[in-house]
């Protein structure tokens, strides 16, 4: 893990001195803020709404907005991680310093993840607002955030991997968006395939929608943990192998 900290700090620095980071975070918060406003407005007008639905579970679970936002935001967050350095040549200076490939991959990943966490952090305010006006299920809130973080960890890992596999930031972005879109569409397949078929099983297993519904209602299923664990670790592993492979290309 030689070189992890300096690279991690530099990556964060590089991300936040460019307007891109702020544009992404601001647009994320605008969309989530509107989302939250509409939900609260909706629930406040329909007081006798069906029992188990709460603003919290609706915000994290029963909505397409969450994934659409991530589908749009994750690819530009990760596209530059490796592709930019390879295009500009700075990767050569980086990889000739006494650092291990694993450290480089993990440092870049950790910086993206930190940015992601920073992006979500202001939404904790919504919980504060909700808890002031009524009862809040803090366990469900915690599991919702676990879910959001797991989805992000997996998506960012896919994005980092795509960035390591091409020298073009644009291609990295397109590839990431494609993979995430395929995952998302497979998830929708849960509702269109017939129950009992293998396809239905697969679709249900990868359905980010179903996953977030679970998390939003306070259920942390170990199958979800394994799924997102794999989705995070496998692309990272491929990326580390790719970084080593440049050396022998």
């Amino acid at each position: 893990m030689r070189g992890f900290w300096p690279i991690y700090r530099r990556e964060l620095f590089a991300f936040f001195v460019t307007p891109l980071a702020w544009v992404l975070i601001v647009s994320f918060l605008v969309v989530q803020g509107m989302h939250f406003f509409l939900l609260v407005d909706h629930f406040s007008r329909e007081v006798d709404v069906a029992g188990d639905e709460t603003p919290l579970s609706a915000f994290f679970g029963n909505t397409v907005l969450l994934y659409l936002v991530l589908l749009v935001l994750v690819p530009p967050m990760t596209m530059r991680l490796f592709a930019e350095e390879r295009r500009s040549g700075t990767i050569e200076a980086l990889m000739t310093a006494p650092v291990s490939s694993t450290a480089v991959v993990l440092a870049k990943y950790a910086s993206a993840l930190t940015t992601y966490v920073a992006m979500w952090l202001p939404t904790v305010l919504y919980l504060v607002i909700l808890s002031r006006t009524g009862d809040l299920d803090w366990r469900a809130a915690a599991s919702s955030y676990v879910g959001v973080m797991l989805v992000g960890a997996g998506y960012l890992s896919v994005g980092l991997c795509a960035s390591a596999l091409t020298q073009s930031q644009f291609l990295a972005m397109v590839w990431t968006a494609l993979v995430l879109l395929v995952l998302f569409i497979l998830g929708i397949g849960e509702f269109v395939t017939r129950e009992g078929t293998l396809m239905h099983e697969i679709c249900a297993h990868v359905s980010v929608w179903a996953h977030m519904n679970d998390f939003a209602s306070g259920v942390v299923d170990s199958r979800r943990l394994v799924f997102y664990g794999t989705l995070a670790v496998l692309p990272l592993y491929i990326a580390a192998k790719a970084v080593d492979a440049w050396r022998w290309g």
Binding site: R2, P6, I7, F13, G89, T90, P98, V99
Partner: protein, 331 residues
Amino acid sequence: MAGYKGPALIAVSHLVKRYGAELAVDDVSFEVGKGEVVGFLGPNGAGKSTTLRILAGFLGPTSGKVTVAGHDVVDEPLEARRSIGYMPEGVPLYPEMRVVEYLRFRAELKRVPRTARATWVDDAMRRAGVVDVAHRQIGHLSKGYRQRVGLADAIVAKPPIVVLDEPTAGLDPNQIRQARTLVRELGREHTVVLSTHILGEVEACATRVLLIHRGRLVAEGPTDRIRAMRNATAVELTVRGDGDGAARVLSSIDPIWELSRVGSGDDMCRLRVQFPSTLSVDECAAATERCVAALVGAAIGVREVHAVGGSLEDVFAALTASDGSSAEAEA
């Protein structure tokens, strides 16, 4: 660092690098001793950058063994990389960082102890001459300054070896002069390996030259030998008239000189006198004087005298041809 006492700081034996079907480096072997300034000379695409990238640990060798300060670049990559300060071709830097931020980042990456970091960065900035732009953003710097930031980066961790790939590429003549001075200064404290496709560059900086062509090491020797070949090849004279008279006069001085007509114009003619390669630098200068004196003595107007340096190709040809007789040439 100072601890290394072995005979060769860099040892490369039978290095081969293949990109798919293309052979970029073909069985290259050489050694570099402590305190040397070695110039890698060859045309573009000869395999210089590939060799340096393998030394620096950016690329892995297809076969062969490369050790840097006693560490094998494949088996002990981190230790090997720690003993090299490398400046890649084109000096890629992070444009959004300030010079001092970048160098602190690089120093930390190269594991300069925390307490020494600020001092060493200041040191490197002073030696590379970037103190006055320390707080400027790298993206706003001129090419010359960026080159110097690259040099500062190469020396910031005080490595025993400094490897510079095309350190003067893209600079204007003034900056080239400054860069060469810097490289010579580096040579006092570090072992330096640099690459270039310009003959004058190695002459100005290096103590020893490795000639690489199509991936093969075609010759190596002290810079003086290269310089001799370059300076002592031929002279071009522009004379008044059709040149026949001048040719007669010149060929009567020494019949073994090769005489050729390289151009003619309105009442003028340019002749080239090729001296034999056995002549030393001084002898060639004397021969040039005799040419001019003879022409003037024969009342032929001399308009221009121009000593012709051997081109890189000439030096290649001469070096590869004289490989067998190098003992005689050095005697």
